[in-house]
Symmetry: C2
């Protein structure tokens, strides 16, 4: 989720967490990271999201954030273990970077020769470390979101040719989303409407909790609601989201 | 806390959290990190520990870990903000490193020329980044705990001359603790006894929840219990804890 004003993810998270073991088979752990200015709240759990006490805390105690990345895991590479749960976090140029990957990379053995090494055993964390390493080489300090988008468009295909590489990346200022096979987004803005969750019998009237200037973009593997207009990414497409809108 | 078997911190955390706003004036945020193998659960909050919903979750839902670092903050440098809450986390040599600092460093402007930059505005995170940078230069990969202790004994005085530098550092395999002014530890082992919290009317019979081989070392700024034998660190002393015992 990427927004122009701090927004809670309670509604979307309710549907999302059901996919972590109940309505979908991604039950090998989960995680979520909320930026708060430059700071970060990062929760990971190798219990399934639908059973996790931390997930329950997040549902009950709304955390407001302008950039949130969440992930539910179906283990393809790497055991069911805390260190293999997404999203992953690293610091670069004095900012935290958060990364989550959906997909599977085959025969991917990047040359990690600099300051970013995987802690766990997933292809995903290797891909993240390589991206961070190459971004660090390409810019001396935090570039603009547009400049970083151009660099990511050069780097991403070098990973994506190894398999499925749908990913989300944020530094708290913007959200980058790349689609190999399957990714959707919706932009919620004035006039806000009712929305009906696909995974749970729950609906919400966004108009009651928002102001006319609020903008919220939500990017997902599969649409979360049944009555909103979700736009599919094209395969190979990398999009930049700033202040709740797709801008490039 | 450093242990030879995964142990929950429920009892110690109960007393500790009271100091975050109730029995002490450290009310400018708090944080706690639990290693689980190579993985890490990291919680930070800029609400005071005695009021925080995340602190409530930790009290109610025991997380077992062999290495835990917790911190309650009294802001000396840097605003009350999430990015300034300890403990801080960085990755080095494919492991997470967790650091918390009690004290204040004056005129401390380390030369941070490598891959570790502070995200927030505290002297503490600067000290951590400098330590990580210098450790990375001193060893090619994760050294033994004893080797790292020697390197830390060389590096620490270069920071400590800038002020008060009580710190805790862990990579999930060992715990390092350095005392400038005030630090205590206790080693709990067989035969386990009753303990009475100093900050709350609560006592526990450790014998009921432990086995004969369990060892738990707890390092604190001020003793947490009134009826255990706490050993004071000497000023300038750096101690290494492995498997629940002070070993160097």
């Amino acid at each position: 989720m990427n927004c122009n004003t701090p927004t809670d993810v309670t509604f979307s998270f309710s549907g999302f967490a059901q996919r972590g073991g109940r309505t979908d088979h991604h039950a090998d752990g989960w995680g979520i990271a909320f930026f708060e200015g430059a700071g970060l709240r990062h929760f990971v759990d190798h219990q399934s999201a639908c059973d996790s006490p931390v997930a329950e805390l997040i549902r009950r105690d709304p955390i407001k954030s302008r950039n949130v990345i969440a992930h539910i895991r179906k283990a393809t590479q790497g055991a069911v273990a805390l260190e293999n749960c997404h999203p992953f976090v690293r610091e670069l140029w004095g900012r935290y970077w958060v990364f989550a990957h959906n997909g599977n990379l085959e025969n991917f053995h990047p040359n990690l020769h600099a300051g970013f090494r995987p802690v766990g055993a997933t292809d995903s964390e290797q891909a993240f470390c390589w991206l961070m390493q190459e971004l660090a080489k390409s810019h001396a300090s935090v570039p603009t979101a547009q400049e970083l988008t151009l660099t990511l468009r050069e780097l991403t295909p070098r990973i994506a040719r190894h398999g499925t590489f749908n990913f989300l990346l944020s530094n708290g200022q913007a959200l980058w989303a790349h689609c190999s096979t399957q990714l959707y987004f919706v932009e919620r803005k004035h006039p806000f409407a009712h929305a009906q969750l696909a995974d749970e019998d729950l609906n919400i009237d966004f108009a009651q909790n928002t102001s006319a200037s609020d903008k919220v973009a939500v990017v997902v593997t599969a649409p979360l609601t049944t009555n909103e207009e979700w736009t599919a990414f094209a395969p190979g497409q990398l999009r930049l989201f700033v202040d709740g809108a797709s801008v490039g």
